[in-house]
Symmetry: C2
Subunit: 209 residues, 2 copies
């Protein structure tokens, strides 16, 4: 046993396990995050993970957090790429990009998308109590920021701002689920993309002043 190739102490196992688990979630979804398989791929015995995670659920929770963060990043990137025009146009364009980024992520990374919404009970759960910091609920906060901007520039009235977050989220989330797992999963991409635009149209029109 060469200490170069297979040191007894891995030295960096925890992050490697998380990365490996994320990769597994990517290709096979949350159910594919199997402790023994993670260990196998990390080249480590099947119970080494218990030094770093109390159990499978703890590892999966971490994977879920990463997936949620990936989704947030996808949204933020697309929002940042919206060109500057007049305030109102730009604010609505940002809202649409937020939605497109969400759906696009779901389609491009179905395994991670599903894993992002697979949290142990009580973790990563929102109260809709809008008052305080809502914890690390990234994508939801990003959406709320975009909606606040719409109010700021006068494109949406404060009354219509109430509950707009859930309305937008529901629409793009439902579209994603129908298209990724649901009865619309075999709709061809061009039809599917056109359908998404209509969804965004309806939401925008429903919110606009």
């Amino acid at each position: 046993v060469s200490s170069k190739t297979q040191p007894y102490h891995h030295g960096n196992l925890r992050p490697v396990l998380v990365d490996t688990a994320v990769e597994l979630a990517r290709s096979t979804g949350p159910d594919g995050v199997v402790l023994r398989e993670v260990a196998r791929r990390a080249g480590v015995s099947h119970n080494a993970a218990y030094r770093h995670f109390s159990d499978r659920a703890a590892l999966l929770a971490e994977v879920s957090d990463r997936a949620y963060a990936d989704l947030e990043r996808a949204m933020v990137e697309r929002i940042a790429a919206v060109p500057a025009t007049d305030e109102r146009t730009r604010a609505f364009a940002r809202l649409r990009e937020t939605g497109r980024a969400y759906v696009e992520f779901a389609i491009r990374e179905p395994g991670l998308f599903t894993t992002a919404f697979t949290k142990p009970d009580g973790a990563g759960v929102h109260t809709l109590d809008h008052s305080g910091s809502d914890g690390p609920n990234g994508p939801y906060l990003v959406l709320n920021q975009v909606l606040d901007d719409l109010v700021t520039c006068g494109a949406v009235t404060p009354e219509r701002r109430v509950g707009a977050d859930v309305a937008c989220w529901s629409a793009v989330h439902g579209f994603s689920d129908l298209v990724v797992h649901g009865p619309l999963r075999e709709v061809p991409p061009d039809l599917r993309d056109a359908a998404l635009e209509v969804v965004l149209d309806v939401i925008q029109r429903g919110l606009a002043d």
Copy 2:
């Protein structure tokens, strides 16, 4: 062995297995539909089901169809209960009831709701090709009927009718998923119901002429 209590030939096993499986799906979701447990509850040996279903997937598909039909029934009942007023008001009230029925079913019967959308690949999948009969996609057809009525009475223009089905479906489906499995699953009922009304408001406003 008394032939009264335990006849060798059950005589009615197939429907009993389906009923039992539906009950299991109701309480524990699609993953709870376990062949051995279904057989146990039906009081029959664990492989008797193979006389009636080629495998577990075949039984589950039947359960899924039943769940889908239950969802449709819930929608139809609520639509039928909308009181007669002027055409336009009634047509929109029906649309809202359709959405409420959908969400209410998801909340009241999370196991069945989930099972309804757990179909083997290729079964119960829509093309969005609106031209022909779409197969037994009950809830989707019901929604389309309600939307057509809105066009008929002039509440929605034909242009806005295009894609309105997917927009409505996405919104209520997403809301249901967020609330039943997702990050909104611990939102208290009163807040949740208020949020749904806003979702319906936004959709209605987005479609209305």
